[in-house]
Symmetry: C2
Subunit: 198 residues, 2 copies
């Protein structure tokens, strides 16, 4: 005997999600049988809705339900700064800190020759167009501190600097609340390199 077809399909569906194998998918599927009907319907409709109602902002390429997005369309944001990030979730992380008032630009990835991702697969051309039209004074590169993130930062910096716009990179260092003892050497070296007067 196999699972009844609707259940088998749901197990298949859950397995398409990252980090969810056959066992977890089965557990989730059986759980939905005991969930409140409204909750199951809300989840199903949210799945359909993200694909139907969300698109990317034509200016900054962030995920949005309107175009331009909430940040690009906000007249109180500081148009002199553009913070370049890899993914939409990085925008959320930066917005959570509630200190940055500039604009964003989502690359939708990083340059990664090994994965076959070249500069043309990212939204770099669109970024350069923005730099021409807008009154941008500084581009803050906030790609991740990985090899690819770093390479992308160097690439962007070489591309943008000739135009006279200031290009900065977010600081590396010991995370707040972190412990020197557990920091890896590269981070420690970067933290020393980036030391400031107190």
């Amino acid at each position: 005997m196999h699972y009844p077809e609707p259940l088998a399909k749901l197990i298949d569906g859950f397995q398409k999600l990252p980090g969810i194998g056959p066992k977890t998918a089965t557990r989730l599927a059986f759980f939905t049988l005991k969930m409140k009907e409204d909750d199951v319907r809300a989840l199903a409709e949210a799945l359909l809705s993200v694909r139907r109602d969300l698109s990317t902002c034509s200016i900054c390429h962030n995920v949005t339900d309107r175009d331009p997005c909430a940040v690009c369309g906000d007249p109180t944001r500081d148009r002199r700064q553009i913070c370049v990030v890899e993914e939409p979730k990085d925008v959320i992380a930066l917005e959570r800190m509630k200190e940055y008032r500039g604009l964003y630009h989502v690359l939708n990835g990083v340059i990664s020759p090994l994965d076959g991702v070249g500069p043309e697969a990212l939204t770099i051309k669109s970024l350069l167009d923005r730099l021409k039209d807008e009154s941008v004074e500084e581009v803050i590169i906030a790609t991740n501190p990985s090899i690819e993130g770093e390479a992308t930062a160097v690439y962007l910096s070489r591309l943008i600097k000739p135009s006279g716009i200031r290009v900065t990179r977010i600081a590396y260092g010991i995370p707040v609340g972190g412990d020197l003892e557990y920091a890896d050497e590269v981070t420690l070296a970067k933290a020393l390199e980036g030391r400031r007067d107190v």
Copy 2:
């Protein structure tokens, strides 16, 4: 800035699933943005379908897309044996071994006074009704080897034995491929107790 509403709703929806907290829910939600549209729609429809198309078998209470279920409706199954399990997924586990040819009865839980689950919350009355009508010779109790599973087995056995039907319990012991060294004492004691001539 918050997440666009469709995304926020999906993150909420995923968090209703077991073992999925805010971080995993966010990761899953962003992942769906990159999934094939068909896969997302299939998952959403499977969610709606399990609640719409699945019900419980009126005989054995297993989850099914028809009534009676595939097992109860199969004329080749041995109607002299009923295997009592806690949950629908236990039926799947037993069917996977392809040796048991009898019928099932799903309790939908175990007796657990601490959680407020008494015998009346389970499908025990329906099991007793089946024992009256059908030509049942043996009830195999395959509840889990937990305190509650054990208590439920004892309870059922006391209830059924007076009717003259044989009541058996699946064996405890060292799992195949297991290691004596890592077996807990209770399992080891049960394995000794259940020893057989070779």
